[in-house]
């Protein structure tokens, strides 16, 4: 079947190329047949007009993409610094659009307007210092403003204090899953190293040093981890084998996981999972996804297979750094909830000392 389809596709393509070639040839009929690559006046005329049409095409692609793809983008940020991030992003995009619209218009319009006519001489203009100064200085000013804004945002995000009441969470990466470790009542993570991974018949899943008393009350979880809303979280990030990257797009957060090194990131979640599920953009997205999943399920059922489960929104931790075969499926669910629910959930988990007994 696929062979047939691909043959048909190739044939159709060949035919369309042939047809387009024909059109070009017919449009050239009046001129004396010269296919030697030097553009005739007729060529210039047609290609110049096509250049203008291409400008329209670029604008249409832009408009179409924004109209139909804006809805697939990430919903508003669920972390405190994320609002600053989104503002800076929008400002950058506005600048990009203004520059893109104007420069593409000039480029393609000139290509159309000045398309060659036999016997006309171009203007002899070699340079214009004033003009060149203008288009050097204006981008420079805009960029300096952007750099200043960007650098302040960056240092606000990256230079966080290790204050007392911040929650410390370790993200632990390996091929191909995530684990999270909570610091327990003392809020201090016990020392850890991959050398301890084989202790206690492999039950020491993130390699905690059992001789460090800080580690005994630590809690290790898999599959999902929870965060209390409106409390600052400091992530200490480790990897046991290759590079991974802890990517939490809804919180505008990403940091690589480097074996032999502890990297850090911090944010304050502002929206619980339940609240995010009520966000109109998220509701719309979930409905769209479920419609697709329903349609796909019908096909599966027709083939006698299990249908897909309906989708419910959850925050995600993904791996963004190539790490081997199952890189595409290295995920962990993040649940943001009230401090009370969070404490209740955490107390239900086993501590390290309970696990190794």
């Amino acid at each position: 079947m696929t062979v047939l389809l691909s043959i048909i596709a190739v044939t159709l393509l060949a035919i369309s190329v042939w047809q387009i070639t024909k059109i070009f040839e017919i449009s050239n009929l009046g001129a004396k047949k010269d296919d030697s690559q030097v553009a005739s006046e007729k060529d210039n005329d047609l290609q110049g007009k096509l250049m203008f049409a291409f400008l329209v095409f670029i604008y249409l692609v832009t408009i179409y993409s924004f109209v139909s793809y804006t809805k697939v983008l990430l919903p508003e940020s669920a972390s405190e610094h994320g609002y600053t991030y989104d503002t800076l992003l929008i400002i950058s995009f506005i600048i990009i659009f203004i520059v893109q619209t104007v420069t593409q218009a000039l480029l393609h319009y000139f290509a159309y307007k000045y398309r060659g006519i036999n016997g006309r001489k171009a203007s002899f203009i070699t340079h214009n210092n004033k003009l060149e100064l203008v288009w050097t200085v204006i981008p420079a000013i805009v960029l300096f403003a952007l750099i200043l804004y960007g650098m302040t945002t960056w240092s606000d995000i990256m230079n966080f204090d290790e204050d007392e009441d911040a929650l410390v969470v370790e993200l632990y990466a390996q091929q191909w899953n995530w684990k999270a470790r909570y610091a327990g009542d003392d809020n201090v993570l016990g020392d850890a190293n991959v050398r301890f991974l084989n202790d206690f018949d492999g039950r020491n899943s993130v390699g905690i040093d059992a001789s460090d008393p800080n580690g005994l009350d630590d809690v290790v979880v898999t599959q999902e981890f929870h965060l209390p809303v409106d409390r600052k979280v400091i992530f200490k990030i480790r990897s046991q084998d290759v590079l991974h990257s802890a990517y939490m797009p809804h919180f505008r957060a990403q940091m690589n996981c480097v074996p032999g090194m502890i990297t850090e990131f911090s944010f304050t979640p502002t929206t619980t999972t339940d609240d995010m599920r009520l966000n109109p953009d998220v509701v719309a997205k979930v409905n769209r996804i479920n419609k697709i999943r329903y349609d796909n399920s019908q096909e599966l059922i027709a083939k006698g297979q299990e249908p897909l489960e309906p989708y419910q929104f959850d925050y995600l931790l993904l791996c963004a750094k190539i790490c081997g075969a199952s890189h595409y499926n290295m995920q962990m669910k993040i649940v943001v909830e009230s401090e009370k629910d969070f404490n209740k959930w955490l107390n239900e988990q086993k501590t390290f000392s309970e696990i190794i007994q």
Partner: protein, 599 residues
């Protein structure tokens, strides 16, 4: 002026004492024009086809994940596509080798190798490269490198699959993925040959430009093509050795038990002995080449475009000195911005600020170049042949792709788009497509110089328009997939129901990719057909000012029969007032009472 050396005419006569055999003419040729063709055939026609084909295979997988395709079985075999379903390891290998081939083999060796070799001697008025022998060695090292890279596709455990950036520990430990065994060894050996080739080539280009310019060809009379090739060669000489050192250290870690890049690693139930190294060190070494590499790819394309836009606008290039200055500024800045690939690697946040600063500075010379191209078109008399269309297309994709750089270069904004499809869309437009357009423009423009014949115009137009629409069709929607949070190098997005509503966009992109990929067959056909059956070229078909068009159409040893012409003016006296024709070749003496153009 004093630096311009008149070539030794007697030396040229020496050549004729040797009798040319088939081997010295076609295989071990020391003639720069033949070497240029060899680079083109190996780098673009062979490696390019392999690289593009790979991208089509993984695009099919991304659009219709885990479905069975007989085309997979044909190309990947039973081992990597049992029942026609692609294996995740080979997916990563395809992505890796596609990147490696396109960046290094096609857009570095294929582009610079072809056009630096063809144009440097011809446009500066030299008999050949400074060392024809080294030039030949450079090509053959590149050839060996290509053979090894292609051979690596056939090893038992599969080719390298750690991404074209081959970050350790993934690339260092065969336990972490099958491609990091013999496949990675061959990758590293191939790249070592490649770097050696690139260094010999670059040194030759630099020496030739500095020493072998004909009488009157001062540095500020050089066409912008030569400036671009010259500066590209300098960047290459500065940065490629650093990649070589990274590759050598990685070989040590892989085979001799050192710990340059590895520390505290636990794989398959075993604690490895590595202690004290850091993968971040590798990232620094890699990107110290990796970022300048972007400009090694792009600057020659921009140089080619400058020449073609000026010639076909029948107008001097706008702001010649500003163009030279921006090439130099880009070259300088390119060596101090590598850290913007590493904002979220755990590097000190202060360094992030520094690299944001230097990175966004690079936008200024880039903007100057774009504005100067547009100003060159203004009030011109545009000859819209296929080469010119590709050049204008380059300016368009250079702007579209370059602008998103102000998001990725800004450390704060990079956090959430780092390693997503947003990056893929950005760099494919700004360096991939732009450099390819430069390559195509160059081929259409200098085909008469390469083969003494003209390519077919109509096929050229069709090739351009399908490619132009396809390039935007592929990469414009891709930005949105990235902004939606999809990381790159995912074998499929189906593991995340959250990405289900992006499946349509992926199908759309793949359809555009297939059409655009197949459209390149038009170019291949046009190229090969015109080689043998194209209309015979005139000496100066584009009415261009540069020196290569004063040389005879037939290729001869030493380029010019008799004395090398002298140069009296810059390369851009197009439509000069008071002249009958709308071009004045560089070799035309200044007429009585004519004012030398100030530029």
């Amino acid at each position: 002026m004093s630096a311009a050396v008149n070539n030794n005419v007697e030396n040229h006569d020496d050549h004729h004492h040797h009798k040319e055999t088939f081997i010295t003419k076609w295989v071990f040729s020391q003639d720069h024009k033949m070497i240029a063709k060899q680079y083109f055939v190996t780098g673009v026609l062979v490696m390019g086809v392999i690289g593009v084909l790979m991208s089509l295979l993984f695009r099919i997988q991304l659009a219709w994940p885990e479905e069975s395709f007989s085309v997979f079985e044909i190309f990947l075999g039973d081992r990597w596509a049992p029942d026609g379903v692609m294996n995740p390891n080979i997916y990563l290998a395809l992505v890796t080798i596609h990147g490696t081939i396109m960046v290094f083999f096609v857009l570095t060796a294929g582009l610079s190798g072809t056009f630096s070799n063809l144009l440097i001697p011809l446009q500066i008025g030299a008999r050949d490269m400074a060392s024809g022998f080294l030039n030949m060695i450079a090509y053959w090292l590149f050839f060996i490198s290509s053979v090894i890279m292609v051979a690596s596709l056939f090893v038992e455990a599969g080719p390298a699959a750690a991404g074209w950036t081959i970050y350790p520990p993934l690339s260092a430990l065969p336990q972490t993925q099958p491609g990091s065994g013999a496949g990675m060894t061959l990758w590293l050996v191939s790249m070592a040959f490649f770097i050696a080739s690139s260094l010999l080539g670059s040194l030759n280009y630099i020496v030739t430009v500095l020493n072998l310019r004909t009488k009157g060809m001062t540095m500020f009379r050089l066409p912008l093509t030569i400036w671009a090739f010259f500066v590209t060669a300098i960047i290459g000489v500065i940065s490629f050795p650093v990649l070589l050192s990274a590759a050598l250290l990685l070989i040590m870690d892989r085979s001799f038990g050192t710990s340059f890049f590895l520390s505290d690693i636990f794989v398959q139930g075993e604690v490895l002995h590595y202690q004290g190294g850091s993968p971040v060190l590798f990232e620094h070494l890699f990107w110290f080449l990796g970022h300048p590499e972007v400009y090694i790819v792009l600057l020659p394309a921009l140089g080619i475009t400058s020449e073609i836009i000026a010639t076909n606008s029948r107008k001097p290039i706008f702001g010649y000195r500003a163009m030279v200055a921006s090439i130099l500024a880009i070259a300088f800045l390119s060596t101090i911005v590598w850290g913007h690939h590493m904002f979220v690697t755990g590097m000190n946040p202060f360094l992030g600020s520094v690299f944001t600063f230097t990175t966004l500075l690079i936008a200024i010379p880039s903007a100057v170049k774009a504005f100067n191209y547009i100003a060159t078109l203004w009030k011109g008399n545009l000859q819209l042949n296929p080469a010119m269309l590709f050049s204008i297309g380059l300016v368009s994709t250079f702007i579209t792709g370059g602008l998103t750089g102000i998001i990725l270069g800004d450390s704060a904004l990079d956090i959430n788009v780092h390693d997503t499809y947003f990056v893929v869309a950005h760099f494919h437009l700004v360096m991939g497509i732009s450099a390819l357009y430069g390559l195509f423009a160059g081929v259409y423009h200098w085909f008469p110089k390469l083969y003494g014949r003209m390519m077919n115009k109509t096929l050229g137009y069709v090739h351009f328009w399908i490619t132009a629409i396809g390039a935007y069709g592929i990469f414009f929607p891709m930005h949105f997939i990235g902004m939606a949070g999809v990381p790159r190098r995912y074998y499929t997005n189906t593991a995340f129901p959250y990405f289900d509503d992006l499946a349509d966009i992926n199908v759309l992109i793949t359809v555009f990719a297939l059409i655009t990929g197949l459209a390149q067959l038009i170019f291949l056909y046009n190229f090969i057909h015109s080689m043998y059956f194209g209309k015979k070229a005139e000496k100066n078909p584009w009415k261009s000012n540069t020196m290569e068009w004063t040389a005879p159409v037939e290729h001869i040893h030493g380029n010019w029969p008799g004395k090398i012409p002298e140069v009296y003016r810059w390369a851009y006296d197009y439509s000069k007032p008071g002249k009958k024709e709308d071009f004045v070749p560089q070799t035309t003496p200044i007429a009585k009472g004519e004012k030398i153009t100030e530029h």
